[in-house]
């Protein structure tokens, strides 16, 4: 996932939604969630899988977007290290256990008290995705081998 590819995907989806004559409210939610999901892939791959002695295929990531009559589903997948699974699962479960009001308070807390990494990540991505979606985050971890686990995330935006 490069910055250029990310820009291209965003342009394609945005122009498709224009053609569908999608309601501005939904268009914005989908676009926002898309940006955060793709930038998660961008930052993570940038990060540390590169260091591993892996097959080139394992640097790949997955991205899908589907639209039914009333629902957009955005799915991403990427490889992570097995030792990252528990903290990520904990974060996702924490977010999934929160009400709308709790998510808003948590977002404000991390926004105000958190620090920004050098890469420009603020630790707000998943909270923001959950707030904009208004649904539980659907995730799965599939162990591949001792060095890699596949992490799948699926987010729904309903009209």
């Amino acid at each position: 996932m490069t910055s250029e590819l990310l820009t291209t995907i965003l342009q394609i989806i945005e122009s498709k939604m224009e053609r569908f004559d999608e309601r501005p409210k939904i268009k914005k939610k989908v676009f926002n969630v898309l940006v955060e999901c793709l930038q998660n892939l961008y930052h993570h791959i940038d990060e540390d899988i590169d260091d591993l002695d892996t097959d080139q295929n394992e640097l790949n990531s997955l991205f899908m977007i589907a639209k039914t009559v009333s629902t957009y589903t955005i799915t991403t997948g990427n490889y992570i290290k097995p030792n990252e699974v528990e903290s990520l699962r904990g974060k996702l479960d924490l977010i999934n256990g929160m009400s709308k009001e709790e998510l808003k308070a948590y977002y404000k807390q991390v926004l105000n008290e958190g620090t920004m990494s050098e890469k420009g990540t603020a630790g707000l991505g998943m909270i923001d995705i959950a707030r904009k979606s208004g649904k539980k985050l659907n995730y799965d971890f599939s162990p591949i081998n001792d060095n890699l686990t596949f992490y799948g995330l699926s987010v729904k935006i309903e009209e």
Binding site: S3, L6, T7, L10, Q11, R23, P24, K25, K28, K29, F31, N32, V35, E36, Q39, Y42, H43, K104, Y107, K108, L111, N112, G114, M116, E118, K119, G120, T121, A122, L124, G125, D128, R131, K132
Partner: protein, 127 residues
């Protein structure tokens, strides 16, 4: 001092910071992968402006989209402006959002809750 005028791009907002008028306007979308680099000149400009600000400083934020990387940088801009407000200038923030865009309205409320500057929420048909 010089004004700061940046034209918007697919991932960065239009910036019009005017020291003679005391108006700071941020418009469009802010979705760079790493927003620190983009916002640094804005922080520097506000630092310089703070040395000799107008009695009234108006901040107009008219965002269509911004990502979480930018949300932290925008908070930092407000914190900088908040510290100016204790001195020689009165800072007012106008937060624009498009009608039906509850998420952008809520984002404004979030900043309003954290920052002590007066926020005016302004609903418009289109940004």
């Amino acid at each position: 001092m010089e004004n700061l005028n940046l034209e918007g791009s697919a991932k960065t907002p239009t910036v019009n910071f005017n020291s003679a008028d005391g108006t700071l306007e941020l418009t469009g979308r802010s979705i760079p992968e790493n927003s620190i680099e983009f916002y640094k000149p804005l922080n520097d400009w506000i630092d310089a402006y703070g040395a000799n600000p107008k009695p009234s400083t108006i901040v107009d934020v008219k965002m269509e989209y911004f990502n979480t990387s930018s949300s932290k940088c925008i908070l930092d801009l407000f914190k900088q402006l908040e510290s100016l407000n204790n001195g020689e200038t009165e800072v007012n923030v106008n937060w624009y959002y498009e009608e039906d865009d509850e998420d952008m309205a809520e984002a404004g409320e979030d900043y309003d809750a954290i920052i002590s500057l007066p926020f005016k929420m302004i609903e418009v048909e289109e940004i």
